[in-house]
Every structure is written in C-alpha cells, then in structure tokens.
Amino acid sequence: MKPKKDLSSHYTQSTPNWCPGCGNYGIWVSLKNALQELKLPAHKVVLVGDIGCSGKLAYWTDYNGFGSLHGRSIPIAEGVKIANSDLTVIVVGGDGGLLGEGLQHFLHACRRNVNIAVVLHNNQVYGLTTGQTSPTSDPGYQSSTTPEGSYETPLNPSLLALTAQATFVSASFAGNTPHLTQTIKSAILHPGFALVDIYQPCVTYNYINTYEYYSKRVYDITTTPYKPDNRFRAMKKSMEIEGGEKFPIGILYQDESRPSLQDNIQNRVAPLVKQSINNITVKSLFEQD
C-alpha cells in the first residue's frame, strides 16, 4: 500500500511523543508485541484510547484507533464490542481517567463481564495535565492541587476489579516488557473482562514511583506457589501493594467459567453489524396492540 500523503508538520502528532524515558514506551512496545504474537489481523483490532498521555497510544499503532473522551473509553469500547464481536477491543487509559473520571464505568464493566481488555497505564499521577494527584497517588503525594500533600487513601485497581467480580485481574510493570507482553496476551485471550494494571513510571512528574522504586518492589507471582483460581485469595494478594513495599505482578485471578456478556447475548441475537436492515417489517408490532 502507498504510504500516507505527507501531512506531517511541526503540528502533527503522528508518532509517539511521550517524554523521553516515559513508561508508556514500554507499554506501547509490549502491546504491539502481544498483538503481533497473537497474529491478529490489524483491521480486526480496535484500540480505544482514553484522554491522557496513556490514551494517545491509540493513535500510534497500525491497528484501528479511536481517541475517545477522558474517562469514557470503557463504555465506548463496550459499545464497539457489542456491535461487532469479531473485533478485538482493547482500552488504553490512565489511572485518572479510568479510576477517577470514569470509575463507575470500570466497575460496571467488571460485573457485566464484557469481552474487552483494559490496559491501565497506572502512573499514579495525572500526566497530560501536568502532574496533579490521581486516585492512585501515594498518601502525602504533593502536587499543585494538593500542595499540603494528598490525604486520601489510594484506590487499589485490582482489588476494586475483584470486588466487582471481574473474571481476569492482573498486574504488570512497564519496565518489564516480556512480562507485560505475556500478561497483555493472556488478557486479550481471556473470554470476558480483563484488567491489566500496569505500574508505569512518569519520569516527568512522579519522582516517587520511579523505575527504581518499582523495580525494587515488583515480584513475579509465578515464582511463588500462588494460584490465581480463588477470588478471595486474589483479594488478599492484591492488598499487598497497600503496604507500599511489595507489588505482585502476573495474573492474580482468572475465572473462565462465568459466562461473558458475549455468551449471554450471542444465543439471542445475531452479530449486530452482520444483520441486514433493508427490509424490516414492523406491521406485526402495530397489530399486536
């Protein structure tokens, strides 16, 4: 295929422009690797980006990308998936959008067990708006909006997802792309709602939760006897991070038995975009009254 007409200008953001060293690069690479290794045809994949540094990723791959609204990427992804179940639908967004502005959507998508994968770029800060405190910021975190330091306890994404009965809950680290690639693959393959909570250093604004900080604390749960088959045990495991010292990464919980939204609707209606709508007759609706 011909390359794009050259529309590039100093004003066009055609390629990744995250800050040098930003953890988003690691997520970007891992996501692309995961999709490649899964051999998914590009036109059958849709990345729905939230608004934030993280969400821009949706514009920067050769897959379909839809840059949505801050906090609303999940319900938009749900609509895309329900309309065309042949598509692999992946949400890329940040802790501010998915756990602040759009927290309700995140939790309701969990209980709905809708077949999308949510890639949470958790940098514990609002990046694109220049460093404000986020729902996952550490206690005491100082920023222009909390000069006195935040006194709200951080939200725990994995624990929240488990509480709302998500069927796939995992965590990974932007600094460990092989692990992240694997985890994203499993999330995409999971038949239902899947969360990948990714510790993502923001090198420009977050001087606390750095590469070094995470590297010291993350550990791969597959190196432990842990089994991801019990929701309650998974909760306990996910709560380890609340101490701020140990960050388990890997699949914390997976339940493939619970019917997904897809399972629940496909036996009732044909794939929506496949139905012909040209000669629908409604007379019977008028008559039955």
Binding site: M1, H43, V80, D86, V269, Q275, I280, F286
Partner: protein, 585 residues
C-alpha cells in the same frame, strides 16, 4: 365552546387502582364500534396513591388532541370527585361507587350539581362475585355502558379475549360483574342519553402512544443497539425496544448512567450498528460531552430527548417543550447537528427513521425532541399509512481496501467538496484508520496546524449546507392565505390544527404552520412562507418562547402574539381559540 359529535370520559382515582387498563378497555370498545379515540393521562410523580386521571376522547370524526372537557366522570375515590366537581360538563354524568362516595349525589342535575349522578356499588357487586374488589372496575365500565346507551356485546367480547388466557373463571366473573353492574344501573336509573354516539365509520386506525410510534420507527430503521438509563418519560421507548429485542435482533442495554449509555451508543455506531439512546433533559445533560465526541469524530448518532417539566428534576411526570435551545447548543465548541421535533404518532414513526438516515448520510448527531404528552398519549395512527415509505440510506460506506480502488491509504477525514468523507467501519478488510476527539488531519492524526484546523472545521460545518436539500419547509395546514397563522412546533401541532375549526365557527380564517424539522433551517424555502403571513400567533409549551427566539434570529420574524404554557400540561384547542378570539379579534 360548541361540541362536535364527541365526548370525553375521565376516569379518576389513585395510582394502583387500575385506571389505565380501564382506559384501554373503553378505548378498545370505541375503536371496535368504529369510533375515533384519543387518550391522554395526567399523574403525579409517585408510585401509589396520588391523583391519577385517564381521559378518553371519543368522536365520529378524526381527533388528535386533548380537550378541556369532561362529559362522563368515573370517580374511583371521593377525592377525585372533589377535584373534578366543577369540571364535569352541564348535563354530564358522574359515575361513582355508592359505598365510597359519602357525599349526597342527586340523580338529576340541579344548581349545585349541574350533572347527572349514577351511583352503583362497584365494590359490593365485585365482592359478591369473589369476595374481592377485583371486578369493581368492570362494574364501573358496565355502568358507563348503560349511561352511554352502548350495548354490552363488544365489551363482553373484549373481556373474553383479554382474560381467557388467564382462566375461564376470570372471564365468567368479569362477564357477571359486567351484567350485574349494567342491570343495577338499569333498575335504579332512568336512561340518560346525552350523546347518541354508539357507533361510527371510522377509517381503520391503530391507537398507539408516542413511545410505541418512536420505538416501532426505530426498529423499522434497523436500530440494532440501544443503551439507556431509566428516566421518565423516555423509558417506555427503551422498554419497547427491549421487549422486541429477540425478535428483531436488537441489544438493549441498561447502562450504569447516561454517560455510559451515550458512550456505548457512540461506540456501537462507530462499529457500524445503527444505535439509539434516549433520556429526558436531566439525562441528556449528562450526554452533552459525548454529543461533541460524535460531532468531531463524525460518528452517526441518534438521541431522543423526551422533555418534561424543568428545570432540574422539576415536574417529572408533566409535559413541557423547554429543552429546545439547550439541545441546539449543547456541548462545547461548534459542530453540525440536526434537531427534529415530531408532532404526532405518524411523524414520530417517520422522523425517527429520517433521523437515522440523516445521521448516516451526514455523519453527525441527530437529536429528536419529544415530550411527556407525546410519549404517553394514545393517538390515531391510520392503518393505511405506508409503513415502508422511508427506506434505509446509510450513506457512503467503504467496506474494504478494494472498494477504495487503488492502494491509497484510507483517510477517514478526507477533505471533500460536500464535507462528507467516505466512511469505513473498523473491521473492513485491509483497512485500518484512526479517529478521535482531538482535532485531526485527514488521517485522523492529532494535528494542531492552524491551516488544517480551519480546513477541518470548514469541512465539518459544510455538512450543514450539504444537507439542506434533505430539509423540507414547514407544513401548512388549512387555508393557504388565512387571516391568521398559528405557528406550532413539535407536540403543539394538533391543538393548533383543531383550533382552526373552532375559529372558523367565528368566521376567522386561520391556518397552521407546523415545524418538525427544527435545525438546520431551510431558510430559502421557509422565509417566503413566513413573509406571506398576515397575522400570527406562536404556540409553545415553555416560558421563554424558545422557538420564537429562533424565528427572530434566523428569519427576523416576530409573531404578533405568543401563547406560552408552562404549567406542566399540553395545549387544548379551545384555550388556543379563546386566546385568539379574546386578545386578537
């Protein structure tokens, strides 16, 4: 005001007393004997109790509007009697339960009681049949039959039809309740036939409410996905779609909030399904941001706003037309949109289909305004209406790289003369593309270049002009050059049209100019019509004359008189006629 050959039956009582189904029975009976009917309801925002009324207007000529008159009142509780005492017409009839209404009611009209009184022990008779008050309403309807001089055959048939699914016992009990009620009235009251209207030659019609008309139209248009959050009076539309979802292959998803509802809808539409969301003003308020998302991503979107009394929670179960300016300007920034306001069941059925076509053809959001009055009133929908008149038009859709012809990289936002860029759906073979809410270049890439910005804004805004051929001028009802023109939009249509005849009785030649395509205006086609108007009055169910403001802004037209109503109730033809007579002639 003089009566046509018609009358109004009002059934009043508490929520939970089953007055709605009584209304249905009576409407069915009238329809079965060839009479026209129009049914509207008035109820408060609470679940049980309160004061609820269903009005059934019956006539041997077509009728499409509520009127302010009660010829027959069936009072299921004492309170209803108090409330409506003064509204019952002279020579009208009050039908009540002897044992419930303690007040002394005389059989014949007198000074203090201008109407007849027919008291029958609804509940006692019912208890006599199965120790419950279950059949009291049947007794009441039977009593009405005696008063109207209707024979019971039709009612019996309908009872049979309705209840035999349940059990023969229930059918028999109903029939005997019916008979006993009729006989009791017959024995105790001499017949009063104030109306000799017991059959007619009505053209066959369906009696459906606005929510059904809209839902049926959406189904016809091929809606495949709908998401919504419950809100009066929009919910019934969703419920109808949900009820028929399996048959028509629709997914109807109740969302966690209206933000999610509209976002799911945008997502489904982006993916290629015709999608609909609906709410009332409060829910629409939460949809405002995503409306702009549809605007800049050029995603087809149809949103129904079923208006109710505002502001804020306001009057949840009352009617109003006060969201016009709001939906017209909702969301930050500027993008093209369409606003439609159907005026009756047929317009609801048809314009919702047009909405889906417009949304697809021009890739923009279309907002359909309806209101509590339209949503809940059972209107005449002529059976000879061509249900297939409007065919589906999805606009330019690219389904594969092949269709692009050549190996050009697909550009979702290609600059085109008419502003409409060929649309591909995600999943199209060999095509991938980007789109989003940031200002973008032709490829959908984030782009802040000032020149591209202006070109892209102009491309989007151009669509407003491009669509003008699809935008008709307002319809005129009545004499083309009347002395006075009544201007209506949306649900005020028929109250205005019926006023024409009432004015004719006073030798005033009136007509109605009805707007149901609200925005964009087809100014070229519309201005001449407005310029031709001699005298005018605009009729709006709001307090600030919102549509009048648009006429001023876009046509420099100022109606001579403006009739605004914002007490939560719809317009009645006679109040319109009265105002015109008293204040303009």
């Amino acid at each position: 005001m003089k009566l046509k050959n018609e009358f109004v039956i009002a059934i009043a009582g508490k929520a939970g007393q089953g007055i709605l189904s009584m209304g249905d029975f009576i409407q069915h009976i009238a329809q079965n004997v060839g009479l026209y009917s129009f049914v509207w309801v008035d109820y408060p925002s609470l679940i049980k109790g309160g004061h609820n009324v269903v009005f059934i207007r019956i006539s041997d000529t077509p009728i499409y509007a509520p009127v302010e008159q009660i010829n027959y009142l069936i009072a299921l509780d004492a309170e209803s009697l108090e409330i409506h005492w003064d509204e019952i017409f002279k020579k009208g009839v009050l039908i009540y339960d002897k044992d419930i209404v303690k007040k002394e009611i005389s059989q014949k009209p007198n000074k203090t009681q201008p109407f007849f009184g027919v008291g029958v022990p609804f509940n006692a008779i019912s208890r006599g049949i199965n120790k419950s008050t279950r059949y009291a309403n049947t007794v009441a309807i039977a009593t009405l039959h005696y008063v109207l001089g209707w024979e019971l055959a039709t009612y019996a048939k309908i009872l049979e039809k309705k209840f035999k699914k349940k059990s023969q016992q229930i059918v028999d009990d109903n029939i005997s309740a019916m008979k006993q009620g009729y006989e009791y009235a017959e024995e105790n009251y001499d017949s009063i036939f104030t109306h000799q209207l017991n059959k007619g030659q009505a053209e066959p019609y369906y009696s459906i409410d606005g929510s059904q008309a809209l839902a049926f139209g959406a189904i016809k248009a091929g809606v495949k996905f709908t998401a919504a959050y419950p809100m009066t009076p929009a919910t019934p539309i969703f419920d109808h779609l949900a009820a028929h979802s399996d048959k028509y292959g629709i997914i109807a998803k109740q969302a966690e909030d209206e933000i999610s509802a509209i976002c799911m809808t945008v997502g489904a539409s982006y993916a290629g399904a015709r999608a609909l969301t609906m709410s009332s003003g409060g829910g629409f308020s939460l949809m405002v941001e995503a409306l702009g998302l549809a605007g800049i991503t050029e995603t087809p979107l149809v949103v129904v706003n079923a208006m109710r009394g505002g502001p804020s929670t306001g009057l949840p179960t009352k009617t109003e037309q006060s969201d016009l300016r709001f939906v017209l300007h909702a969301s930050q920034g500027e993008f093209p949109r369409v606003v439609l306001a159907p005026g009756d069941s047929v317009e609801l059925y048809q314009l919702i289909q047009e909405s889906f076509n417009l949304a697809d053809l021009y890739q923009l959001p279309v907002i359909v305004l309806t209101d509590k009055y339209l949503a809940t009133s059972q209107m005449i929908f002529p059976k000879d209406t061509d249900l297939d008149a409007i065919s589906v038009d999805r606009g330019i859709l690219i389904n594969s790289q092949k269709e692009l012809g050549g190996d050009e990289k697909y550009a979702r936002y290609l600059f085109t003369k008419d502003g409409v860029s060929p649309r591909a759906l995600p999943g199209s073979n060999g095509i991938t593309f980007h789109s989003g809410s940031d200002e973008h270049n032709e490829y959908g890439e984030i782009c802040e270049d000032p020149h591209n910005r202006v070109k892209m804004m102009d491309k989007r805004m151009r669509k407003e002009k491009t669509m003008l051929p699809s935008i008709p001028k307002p319809k005129i009802y009545g004499h083309t050059n009347a002395d006075i023109t009544l201007i209506s939009w949306g649900s005020t249509k028929w109250a205005a049209i019926e006023a024409i005849e009432l004015l004719a009785n006073h030798n005033i030649l009136a007509n109605v100019m009805h707007f149901n395509y609200i925005y964009p205006f087809n100014i070229a086609k519309t201005q001449p019509l407005l310029d031709k108007i001699k005298r005018s009055i605009i009729i709006e169910n709001n307090a600030t004359g919102q549509f009048a403001g648009l006429l001023k802004q876009y046509f420099n037209f100022e109606p001579e008189h403006s009739l605004l109503k914002y007490d939560g109730h719809p317009f009645y033809p006679d109040e319109i006629a009265k105002i015109i007579l008293n204040q303009m002639f």
